[in-house]
Symmetry: C3
Subunit: 396 residues, 3 copies
């Protein structure tokens, strides 16, 4: 579990590279700083408050009520569990970072990350994964299947990201005054691709580590995880060809991640070829989601809402549809629908309110001139590539 | 085994970075796309066809005949085995990618990758590693030693690469009209070096994971793997000094990989100081191989033929020469020679035919103008570094 | 242990990226070459000489006297131990590399790395970790607590780095003729950040692997490791705010590493909230150390002396202060002080003498014109980014 947790930790590097690569060079230091800071502040906030809310004794099924501040840990094995769960909450928090890139003030972002780690994520988590001790959550009691967190981690992160980009508004220049979308290419597709590979690697820890035991199911989990990712990429290539559009590197990488997100719920409980189907439609959902958001002038720099929110919801449904031994059982599917809806109904309004309050107090959106200069300069007083950016600036 | 497989998966990122770093910036998106696509398409093709050919019941010793489409998997432990084997075939397939960089059309490349994963690699693999079930391959029956695949994975990949670059021809400008070689430097040696470190890391999974059991031999395997790699680097430094040539970063990184390739066959069955000797001559073989190819005007962008093909053949012989307890036993060596030759005799002509057919149908070589503009533009409609490349282009 | 060792191996990539990112582009190939070369030459030197000095039979408690050349290994489990220890010595050696960047000749550097791996590090190590066989070191006998090497690995590496930068002198232009410090920004903060993430990942192998057994303590170790790192980052943010200074990315990344260094001694023997305190003051010590060195015109490119030397010493004290069940026991603290001082008294003068001798024989400092042109050109005849650097040079 510790090695799996270490791989999940490494996903932070993957998220940072993906976001940095898809942002412009003038915001690359900001990306680094956000990813380091949310990991660190979020880890500590989760230990102080979130862990108790999520995994403390849970008499009502709606909230843990003790074990705050890591108090009352009796079993030394629980530390490994805390460690692994920290990596999960850090993943959920960092999902919003990518959507909000290139226009968010650093301080406001950090308050948002703390809110997700200490409150929004743990509350919903307690409904599903219940307690390390006694009493479990109401969704878990209903039989909701979410093995490693398509909904608990990824959709929750995705809905937070959706709330954030609604409050923030799009980047300067992302849409014309007439509402036409304009592409803003990222500065380094190699970083993006490396980030995608690192996420894929980390996912083996994410899914396989969630067995909490090295038994024989771990082979099925790893195989399903890999095949769904591969299938997500194939899906992008297929869909792009069908619509006569170029196969963009961003979509290929995101397609793989959408496949991974969508298999996260059902990786332990479906046969491999259903994992291929799940991953394939994960890619389709992601492409459609990007289209849907762009039409509404919602600016999601890395596509996290589609990849984590929409594909996570799809994957949770797929875990019900393709449940091994109970294929297409309406009762199972119904519980999955309830869980998906509960995640949205809890997360989206809460996150919307939180980011609204942040924007009215500490401030969330960087000013126009700061966006033009780049957040590296305006927020952090540094440049990511001092030798090359000066040349580039002079050249333009 | 799952964690080892995850490390082997990560080698895909290593190969991508190594190839990207040694290519020009205008082809870096193409490198990414090839590496993602061959992994994904190849994984699925292997599950559909290749796994059955390689590990299905093998009555003749020359080919598996069932278990296609992952059918008839009864033992849940087999899924972990399938997962691990997918990562091996993906490694074999991606070896050719690096040799073919900067001049290969994307579609043609993909057909080649499918052919390697579904057919060329599994057929030879079935001769050596036999079946998960009953009956094993004829080379395995003879006592051929190839613990983790110096020949099965690396030489096979290397001979496919050799066939591909013969059919493709060199990059525009790589040789003068008089046949003089001209160096085309890669655009980012940091990527190359990071890629090399990632490959080295992945190799611990590659070799140590091949024990299929966490017993005490794993320490010897890991130590031999590391010492051979270190010795490969020392070899490059020594040889370069002896010939009065500068120690180039590309050769240092490739020397380490050549050491890794050459210890892959014998890492579980030789003493550590023989691993040092094996790695050292792996580096020498790699340097001599590069020279040999360049003199024949064969253009191998990353040096994969030398690193994987030639050093893999050497390593397979070394596994026989230095077999613990049976040093320099002619009978053992003879079997190794047979295996090395069988790999070449099967792989090279088959791959040559395959790439020839691809070049005459779908097309394999990018046109001159497309090579000049870069494959990123002509094949993928994107730039890897939009902010910096425009400046660079204007500067020139 | 092998998987943990593989993660520690990967720290080499982290150190290389961190150093490369904080150096100028014209020295980035030199960084790669140093990091590959010290790993390889150091690994072999350790196997030849160092391992015997450190882990051979140790009748006096001051030095191992046999098991050189990996001779007399009877237990196959020992190979895994050797493998793991090689990764530790490689870490110690590479620490100095970062401090010495941008002005050190390649050959002289290599002699220094060999001296650290074959002699300086193993001798001190034998005092603490004693023997794999019989007899253990005098500091270990006293009850000195250094679980995974805050002192044995990191302080020793840090004091070697301190000696090296004293002998070397600062980079050209780092201090004005009046002694005023002038900032020389690194060329790629993304590399630096990725390097930091990789080091953090590797540390889970470094600390958790040091249990030499997968028991329940591993969860506490991993959790403490992570929380100390997070706390080190929070410390930098807090201290920077308090002094009204910008929060620099370099300090954030180094703060995380300082937290990791400082928890390395006590990660298995203190409660999690003390790990948070340890990491926090690790960050403070690092910031103060950087200030201290700069005032003395000592030029440490990556800050390794502060991060590994000073924070390592602090962490070793903290392991005594916060020892679970014996908080603030003066006897325990006294032994820790002795160990910290012994490390300095052994390492610093020995390293100073070694680098002095190197500088007077093979040569250590690159000439002014070579520094101006960059070591890539003057030492390695290559450029790291040939397409972009030419443009950049012409642009200036």
């Amino acid at each position: 579990m510790v090695l799996a947790g270490a791989l999940v930790f490494f996903m932070q590097a993957g998220f940072a590279l993906l976001e940095s690569g898809l942002s412009r060079a003038k915001n690359s230091v900001n990306v680094i700083m956000k990813n380091y800071a949310d990991l660190c502040v979020g880890s500590i906030a989760f230990c102080l408050v979130g862990y108790g809310l999520m995994f403390g004794n849970n008499p009502s099924g709606w909230l843990g009520v003790d074990h705050f501040l890591l108090s009352a840990v009796e079993d030394p094995g629980e530390y490994a569990f805390v460690f692994f769960q920290i990596m999960f909450v850090a993943t959920a928090a960092t999902i919003a970072s990518g959507s909000m890139a290139e226009r968010t003030r650093f301080g406001g972002y950090l308050f948002g990350a703390i809110g997700i780690c200490a409150f929004i994520y743990p509350v919903f988590g307690s409904w599903v994964w219940g307690s390390y001790y006694e009493g479990s959550g109401w969704l878990g009691e209903m039989g909701f299947i979410d093995f490693a967190g398509s909904t608990v981690v990824h959709s929750v992160g995705g809905w937070c990201a959706l709330a954030a980009i609604i409050i923030l508004g799009p980047r300067l220049g992302r849409f014309s005054s007439g509402g036409e979308p304009r592409s803003i290419p990222g500065h380094n597709l190699n970083y993006m691709a490396l980030g995608g590979f690192i996420l894929w690697l980390g996912w083996f820890g994410f899914n396989a580590g969630s067995t909490l035991a090295a038994d024989s199911s771990i082979g099925l989990i790893a195989l399903n995880t890999h095949l769904a990712a591969a299938s997500g990429v194939v899906s992008i290539v297929t869909v792009s060809f069908m619509f006569g559009e170029p196969v963009l590197a961003r979509n290929v990488v995101n397609g793989g991640i959408a496949g991974l997100v969508s298999i996260t719920a059902g990786c332990a409980s479906m046969d491999p070829w259903f994992a291929v189907v799940t991953g394939f439609f994960g890619g389709v959902v992601m492409m459609a989601g990007d289209q849907f958001l762009e039409e509404r002038q919602l600016d999601d720099v890395v596509g996290a809402v589609s990849v984590h929110g929409f594909a996570g919801a799809w994957g949770t449904l797929a875990a019900g549809l393709f449940l091994s031994g109970q294929l297409f059982d309406p009762q199972v599917i119904w519980v999955q629908v309830v869980g998906v809806c509960a995640a949205f109904v809890w997360t989206f309004p809460t996150a919307l309110l939180m980011f609204f309050l942040i924007s009215k107090t500490v401030g969330l959106r960087a000013g126009d001139i700061d966006q033009r200069r780049g957040l590296d300069y305006s927020e952090h007083f540094e440049l990511g590539y001092p030798e090359f950016q000066q040349t580039a600036l002079h050249g333009k």
